[in-house]
Structure formats: C-alpha cells, structure tokens
C-alpha cells in the first residue's frame, strides 16, 4: 500500500519568502508528526496532530512556523519569512493510533534550502 508521501521533495526559497510543505499520511492513521532534520543530525520533533487537532506544538522553533491538518488527513507545514537557519529536511510521519510504543512511518522528506 501507499506510504507517507510529501511534496515538494525539494524546495529552494529566497530569504523572506513563505513556503508550504505538504504531507499525505497513510490512510486511516490518526497521529501525524512533523520533524526537522538539520544536516548531520537526527530528526527533531516539531508538532503533533491527533486527527485534526494540533495537540502538541512545543517543538516549533518560532511563530513563523505554522501547521494545520484541517480534515484530519493531509497536513501542511507553513514557514513564513524563511531564514537561512530554516534550511533542513522536513519529515512527516504518521502512526495508527495515539499512545505509546507505536511505530512511526516516515515520508521521504522535503529538503528546504533558503538562499
């Protein structure tokens, strides 16, 4: 079956531009996560959705970062007024159910380069 998909796979933005990154989770997965992975580092948690509710946004680095999942399926991560430090791979993951001890399925990521 289809896994988690993300688009675009690569995005180049000039500093100050707004960008929108899309995630299509596995159908039926309740939980959706966004992570940011800087070069040479492990992924770092940004935010979590349970269905359409954004329950945890403790990892968002600034108020320029905004995420939504209005119908409980597709999610969009938006970054306003991009800065060079926003350059990273943005990973989306989904999981079947909330709770502990469940595997997260990751998408291929969107590589964002801010010039």
């Amino acid at each position: 079956g289809a896994g988690v998909s993300q688009s675009p796979r690569y995005k180049v933005a000039k500093r100050g531009q707004d960008v929108a990154l899309r995630c299509d989770p596995i159908s039926g997965h309740v939980s959706l996560f966004w992570y940011q992975q800087a070069l040479g580092q492990g992924p770092e948690f940004l935010t979590y959705f349970q269905n359409e509710a954004q329950l945890d946004k403790s990892g968002l680095p600034s108020d320029r970062f905004f995420a939504e999942r209005p119908e409980g399926s597709v999610s969009t991560l938006k970054i306003q007024r991009t800065q060079q430090e926003d350059s990273a791979v943005y990973l989306c993951a989904s999981s079947t159910t909330p709770g502990q001890g469940y595997e997260q399925y990751f998408g291929p990521g969107t590589r964002l380069t801010v010039t």
Binding site: P43, Y48, Q50, L55, D56, L91, Q100, Y102, Y105, F106
Partner: protein
C-alpha cells in the same frame, strides 16, 4: 535537543562482518526504537524494544536494552552492501496530550565495503 547519543559516529566494515552500534539515553523510557535512514528509502523503522525486554531479534538484527545503564545496542549480522545507511536510536517522550514524540540521537553512519 537530542537525548540519545549513538556510538560510534561512523563505522566502516567489510561485507559479511557484523556491525555493532550503541545508544545511550538520559531519561526513563517505556520503549526504544531503532531507525535506518538512507537516501533511497528515507527513515525506516527497524525494531522496537520495550522497557521490560532485554533482547529482541528481527532477521539479522539483534537489539539489547539495559535500562539500568540507559543504553541499547544494535547488532547487524552478516552485513550486506544494502545495509549502508545511518542508524538512529529514538526514545519516546510522552506529553500531556497522550502522544509520544520521538527524540533521536545523532546517528551512526555505517558503510559496508564490498
């Protein structure tokens, strides 16, 4: 912030040899997960071990967990070229919202030499 630390940071071995990488973490956990990341397939879940388990096997993978030392190891036996990738341990942090967010280490970069 990164909770887990993998060791070594990089490892090169001959095809057919075994590869061992270690992970240390800081806080109490109820499970620990290992993931593999390569350019072809992205980040893929390998195995999950719960805090009441000491060892778990999956194919050529063997994971151990020592909660008293807050450490885990991943052993890959009979390595293949396709095992070349970065390997991350991930520990969950629960929130007040019932979700479990993963905290990843910095990874071990494994290279299998044909």
């Amino acid at each position: 912030s990164q909770q887990g630390e993998e060791d070594p940071q990089a490892l090169s071995i001959q095809e057919g040899e075994n590869a061992t990488m270690n992970c240390s973490y800081k806080t109490s956990i109820n499970n620990l997960q290992w993931y593999r990341q390569n350019s072809g397939r992205g980040l893929v879940h390998l195995i999950l071990i719960r805090s009441n388990e000491r060892e778990k096997h999956s194919g050529r993978l063997r994971v151990t967990l020592d909660t008293s030392k807050k450490s885990s190891s991943l052993l890959i036996t009979a390595s293949r070229a396709a095992d070349t990738a970065s390997y991350f341990c991930a520990t969950p942090r629960s929130s007040n919202f019932g979700n479990e967010k993963l905290t990843f280490g910095t990874g071990t970069r494994l290279t299998i030499i044909p």
